[in-house]
Symmetry: C2
Subunit: 200 residues, 2 copies
DNA sequence: ATAATCAAACCGACCGGTCGGTCTGATTGT
DNA sequence: ACAATCAGACCGACCGGTCGGTTTGATTAT
């Protein structure tokens, strides 16, 4: 099939682009480098993407979709809020584990979001959705009295910050400390602080 | 004084460079742009710095020195470990507040550290010193039985991740939420989780 | 069956413009 | 006078993006 070949080429380009962006960053990687790594000509690249930034944005949106998918799981992972947050901790291990390879891209996304308005809007909206979802979850726990009476928005902010910070530690120091499983434990440690006293 | 004029020029260049790097990132800012913003010629720039990267590295090292100075304060801010960590929370507010302006540079430093070996070594060493210092602090608290018997290294990792994550949230969403004072509260929230039950 | 046709995929030479860095001659303070 | 300092023209390399032309493979007409 003709179409199939095109899709494969596009996939190769995206894969190569991701590798380059991770290694060198967005600005420092040339389209030519991406093409070489993809085994494809420059013309092919611009046949599939109108611009270098367009390719980057596709990668970004796919990454966001992956996160969104993970977010869905939280709401179905337990009866009480602490149980669901526990599920979140387990999920975090997976997400961080999987993010390990793509993590430099994460920093690149973050940086681009702070200077490209389009990218910023694309980032901030799911980011706030995350925080809101966490806050709702925590709020339930407070209502159930299974969590301490904390400010849900604040606690959610702390959770997100913790996740972001752990990812960045993984980026900077991949081999340093056993941070892989530690991520889940870290969240559980935080949850101990959140939990009402009569919880384990 | 001739020398003094030169130092002032150098300072203006560094200030301009920092602004540009924050706005556009390292790769995207040209030396010419830095010079224009500094009100200085290209010749002046290359009189003071052999290379664009050299200027960036000076900024980086100064930033690290600032962090190191902050770190010193922790050891003299209270008698018991919880008190000192409380002092840390207060300090964090200041640091994050002050980092608010320089925060995009933080992301830039992080990114460069992941691809430039020299920069990585310059980063990872003080980073680990931070974690070790936190861990020691927490360990004291555990020995005093003023903190729960947690893994000090893990808890320190969480603290650092939290700080890093909060900075990044500030970068991405400067106006979103009242994250300024929230940073200190967040750390206190975490400390509530760390504290032994007989502490306030 | 096979020649003709077509649209999409692909190639790589090429363009205007920008980059980091150099160089020369003028200006400054002493 | 003279050493330190600066301005900005200038250089080769390289960038993102364009374009005319070629290849590919499915479809149609005969």
């Amino acid at each position: 099939m003709t179409q199939q070949r095109g899709e494969e080429t596009q996939a190769r380009i995206l894969r190569a682009a991701a590798e380059c962006f991770m290694r060198e960053g967005y600005d420092a990687t040339g389209v030519a480098e991406i093409c070489t790594r993809a085994g494809v000509s420059k013309g092919a690249f611009y046949h599939h993407f109108p611009t270098k930034q367009a390719a980057f944005l596709v990668l970004f949106e796919r990454w966001l979709q992956g996160l969104e998918a993970s977010l869905q799981v939280i709401h179905t992972s337990g009866r009480t809020a602490p149980q669901r947050l526990e599920g979140l901790a387990a999920m975090a291990e997976q997400v961080l584990e999987q993010a390990n390879g793509q993590a430099p891209m994460f920093v690149e996304f973050w940086r681009q979001a702070t200077k490209n308005p389009d990218m910023w809007q694309a980032t901030i909206e799911p980011y706030r959705r995350f925080r809101t979802a966490f806050a709702a979850l925590i709020n339930e726990g407070v209502a159930e009295q299974t969590l301490r009476p904390v400010d849900p928005n604040l606690a959610a902010q702390v959770l997100v910050a913790l996740g972001v910070g752990l990812i960045l530690q993984g980026v900077l120091d991949p081999g340093g400390a056993e941070w892989r499983g530690a991520a889940g434990q870290a969240i559980r440690l935080l949850l101990d602080g959140l939990a009402a006293d009569d919880n384990g």
